[in-house]
């Protein structure tokens, strides 16, 4: 007999904070400047340089902690994480270890099959490493390369690491979680969270277990995935692989799977998880962070309505899929402004409008609502034109509605009667059983009306008159 398997998925997400300056020095946070131009003694780790924490970054991390339902302990400590690598100039990263800024949260992820509450173990603040480029080697890795170049512009960029509990049970849930989290940090205004820019990165921990068992088996870590869809696919593939391993009597080995962001179909590179000893100890160059309670409360009060709450609200109007799409694409505000039948509005916002890439904020929602309401009556081209023009200051529905099709039977009947009289032979043939001739009559009517006739009404009227 075969066991039913259940995926156990946890996520680690890194988000760059879009502070003006770096985490521990006053260099600007900048993404597209020439290499090694945004540096100073601190982020180059010159002898004697000391870190000074960025207050804005600390506040934003607390704000994010609130959004993740975390507790904000009275005291947080920066630790040194020691390891040698050319992108790590001090040979230690200032990070947080056993006393992070945010702990014990929970993040509600609405789903098609109900909400999933994902535990948040912690969210902590740290500094990003420099960027390395390895030349002349295979796969752009340091081993076997001819030489490596280091760009320290990124070194010291504030980075929040969010660690979820292994509460996610499917690739879709993982994707929903990531999308929702991304939208949350974007709306909080603390990060661009753009994967292409590297301001959002994540790793996935995957294991499987027999359904219903509470055990946690050996997990593998999936790294370097460049999109949420790709992550969902990668998880699915890894879950299948692990099930296969167990079912053929094997054991899953702890390892890291590195994906090649440039080539999604390539199998991941595997590396054995080294039990690296980072020799954490409290950073003696910094004093403990003790955020004033007044500040913590003020940040809690400043929290806007979160995307998850909005999905739940919109779900009752348009169903989960559309609600999730609207919110995680940041288009739900526009949706809410446009009057009219909700599902129709949601569909237009998610499909036609999204495709046009308009600035949602400048859409004239009131007028656009009128157009959407009478969509069935106007030619497709006129509808598309109306959408495209909806951000212009003089956009008015009337102009497009004027092109509404002739749906009034009293206007159409004389035309139809005339055409039937002029084509007696075809009328006889139709009545004799050649019903395929209906199209011919429709065509004639459309031609007569310059394409403005409502095809649905024309069909109805023709059928009725030909039956007689």
């Amino acid at each position: 007999m075969s066991t039913a398997w259940e995926p156990v998925i946890g996520l680690e997400i890194h988000v760059h904070l879009k502070t003006r300056t770096k985490m521990f020095c006053r260099c600007p946070v900048a993404y597209f400047e020439p290499p090694n131009t945004q540096t100073c003694p601190v982020c180059l780790a010159l002898p004697g340089a000391l870190p000074v924490p960025n207050r804005q970054a600390v506040e934003w991390t607390i704000l994010l902690g609130h959004a993740l339902g975390c507790q904000i302990p009275e005291r947080a400590i920066f630790h040194r994480k020691n390891y040698f690598y050319p992108d790590n100039p001090k040979a230690y990263q200032i990070s947080q270890y056993d006393q992070p800024l945010c702990v014990n949260g929970s993040f509600e992820v609405p789903g098609a099959a109900g909400d999933r509450v994902v535990g948040i173990e912690r969210a902590h603040l740290e500094e990003d490493a420099a960027k390395t480029i390895h030349l002349g080697g295979a796969e752009g890795r340091i081993h076997g390369s001819d030489r490596s170049l280091v760009d320290f512009n990124r070194a010291g960029t504030p980075l929040v690491e969010i660690v979820s509990r292994p509460d996610i049970r499917s690739p879709e849930e993982a994707k929903n979680f990531l999308q929702l989290l991304r939208q949350t940090v974007v709306e909080l205004g603390i990060s661009d969270a753009e994967m292409e820019k590297g301001s959002l990165r994540f790793d996935v921990n995957v294991s499987v277990r027999p359904q219903g068992s509470g055990e946690l088996r050996t997990r593998t870590e999936l790294k370097n995935m460049n999109s949420f869809n790709f992550a969902a696919k990668g998880i699915e593939r890894e879950v299948r692989r692990q099930i296969q391993v167990y079912e053929s009597g094997g054991e899953v080995v702890q390892e890291t799977l590195h994906f090649d962001p440039g080539n999604e179909s390539a199998p991941p590179l595997r590396s054995k998880e080294e039990a690296q000893d980072y020799r954490y100890f409290p950073e003696p160059d910094l004093v403990p962070l003790e955020p004033e309670r007044e500040l913590v409360e003020r940040l809690q009060a400043a929290l806007p309505e979160l995307p998850s709450a909005r999905i739940r609200r919109l779900e009752t109007e348009v169903g989960y899929a559309l609600a999730e799409g609207l919110v995680t694409s940041g288009r739900d505000e526009l949706y809410s402004r446009i009057p009219g039948e909700r599902a129709a509005v949601a569909n237009v916002v998610m499909n036609e409008l999204a495709a046009l890439g308009l600035d949602a904020a400048s859409v004239n929602a009131e007028e656009l609502g009128k157009v959407i309401e009478r969509r069935g009556e106007i030619p497709r081209a006129a509808f598309t034109d109306a959408l495209a023009a909806s951000t212009s200051p003089d956009f008015a529905a009337e102009r497009y509605l004027a092109e509404a099709s002739i749906a009034d039977a009293s206007e159409l009947d004389p035309v139809i009667d005339r055409i039937l009289t002029e084509n007696e032979a075809n009328v006889a043939a139709y009545r004799g059983g050649k019903e395929g001739l209906l199209g011919f009559f429709v065509g004639q009517v459309m031609k007569e009306t310059g394409g403005k006739a409502n095809p649905k009404i024309v069909n109805e009227r023709l059928r009725e008159k030909l039956r007689a």
């Binding site: 180059l44 000391l50 020691n82 954490y280 160059d285």
Partner: protein
């Protein structure tokens, strides 16, 4: 303009030199030149300086800086080969404050590599010799700075003190040195040894000069998060009496094994003088501070050092060894060739003490003991204003006498370490000679009580009447 006549660098105090400059009797440039002449004359024998600066860039009294203090455009090596040729692009805060006060740089002084040592013999560029007897060490690690001041090669200097690196060499060279309260002097730009203990402090011929220089460098620095605002401004000490002062004599610091009789004698004489000046003197005890201070120090300092010295990897500055295209091999060769034995020894000790499975028993435990040491000192300060002891158990020893035995060298800091672990300020003043060599008297105060140390030290210094010019130069 005949200024040279007025400048006897062996005798001239920084305060007197300031007077000469202010009255226009001597220019800053003339002063600078006088010290450069003295350096040219006496430093070939002593090797107090690693490098000197030709032109005065300030109109005030010149200064020598220990070579852990970053100086823009002037090579800063921490006496290590791994930093050979490294010229900082920025000034340490203390260097900038000296510049702002108009003190031109004379040069950078020798030290034990990365401030690790008590004799300045661990310098990768050769040892410094004691001006009182060039066959002997000046102490360390700030031995270059204390020797320079003692030999009239600088009117004053800055050193840094982690386990006793200002107080101990000040004692061995017969000069005054202050290790300030942790957090009162910026560490920004100081090549780090052990961050939770490192503190820069002034070295001078007398206590008033020391206070003057401390006033220039102390105070909160936005670039060092561990600094605080001084609770009160630094005063120049005036009083000659000690009426009302309560002096505690910790048994364990004064009776410790290995204190030379001549040292005890000079210290006891000074305690007697204090009584005569009106101080109340009583005994007290710091049992755990002295028993556990040294071993805990040798866990905490190497642990932090192992992390602080990890940045010397050959990637961005300093020495780099070429190795066949493999970054790990490059790191290993660079560090093998660049570091001397003592840094290597401490990096290994510290790496071990921080390792998973050992952290709690070593680093974690040592930090707990540190709290015990702090509490024990605090209790003593409920009864006393100042605690006193010898600064060093011994006078200057001969070069090479202790290099073969690291543990014997570590014991040189036995008496300075406990109060350092508690973050407390300590002043060493010369209190006499033993076998013709200076003996240091250590005064330990409460947090931020530098003014009390200065006034006590000043009163004692006046009563002792120690001649700070080494006999061989008189």
């Amino acid at each position: 303009m005949g200024g040279g006549r007025l400048i006897d660098t062996l005798r001239l105090t920084a305060e007197e030199a300031t007077g000469l400059v202010e009255r226009g009797e001597v220019s800053g440039a003339e002063l600078h030149r006088a010290y450069r002449d003295a350096i040219a004359e006496r430093d070939p024998e002593l090797h107090a300086y690693l490098c000197t600066v030709e032109d005065a860039d300030g109109a005030g009294v010149p200064i020598a800086l220990k070579d852990v203090i970053s100086t823009r455009g002037v090579e800063t090596t921490a006496a290590s080969k791994i930093l050979a040729g490294y010229k900082p692009v920025y000034d340490a805060t203390v260097a900038a404050r000296c510049k702002d006060a108009g003190l031109p740089l004379l040069g950078k002084t020798n030290l034990d590599e990365f401030a690790m040592g008590s004799s300045t013999e661990n310098s990768a560029y050769g040892p410094t010799r004691n001006p009182w007897d060039p066959t002997r060490v000046p102490g360390g690690s700030s031995g270059g700075s204390t020797a320079a001041v003692a030999a009239g090669l600088a009117p004053w200097a800055l050193g840094s003190d982690t386990g006793g690196s200002i107080k101990q060499p000040a004692a061995l060279c017969g000069v005054v040195g202050l290790r300030p309260t942790y957090g009162t002097v910026s560490r920004y730009g100081i090549v780090a040894f052990a961050s939770s203990l490192d503190q820069v402090g002034p070295i001078a011929k007398n206590v008033r000069d020391c206070a003057l220089l401390h006033r220039i460098i102390a105070g909160r620095d936005a670039l060092d998060s561990t600094t605080v605002e001084l609770p009160e401004p630094i005063e120049l000490p005036e009083a000659e009496g000690l009426k009302g002062l309560r002096i505690g004599v910790p048994k364990e610091l004064n009776d410790a094994e290995g204190i030379e009789p001549g040292v005890t004698e000079a210290v006891n004489r000074t305690i007697e003088l204090a009584r005569e000046l009106g101080a109340e003197v009583g005994g007290c005890s710091l049992p755990r501070s002295v028993e556990f201070g040294l071993p805990c120090y040798y866990l905490i300092a190497p642990s932090e050092a192992s992390s602080n010295l990890a940045r010397y990897d050959g990637v961005r500055y300093g020495h780099r060894s070429e190795a066949n295209g493999d970054v790990r091999a490059m790191y290993e060769r660079t560090r093998r060739e660049g570091f001397g034995d003592e840094p290597k020894r401490r990096i290994m000790l510290g790496t071990y003490a921080l390792s998973a499975g050992y952290y709690e028993a070593y680093y974690g435990q040592a930090q707990k003991v540190r709290t015990v040491i702090r509490d024990e000192h605090e209790a003593a300060f409920e009864q006393f204003d100042v605690l006193v002891s010898p600064t060093s158990p011994i006078v200057a020893f001969e070069l090479g006498a202790r290099t073969a035995n690291p543990l014997a060298m570590y014991a040189a800091d036995l008496l300075t370490i406990p109060s350092n672990m508690a973050g407390l300020p300590g002043l060493s003043i010369p209190c006499g000679l033993s076998e013709g060599l200076p003996v240091g008297f250590q005064l330990i105060g409460r947090q931020f009580s530098e003014n009390v140390l200065f006034s006590t030290g000043h009163a004692l210094e006046s009563a002792i009447g120690f001649d700070f010019v080494p006999e061989r130069y008189r």
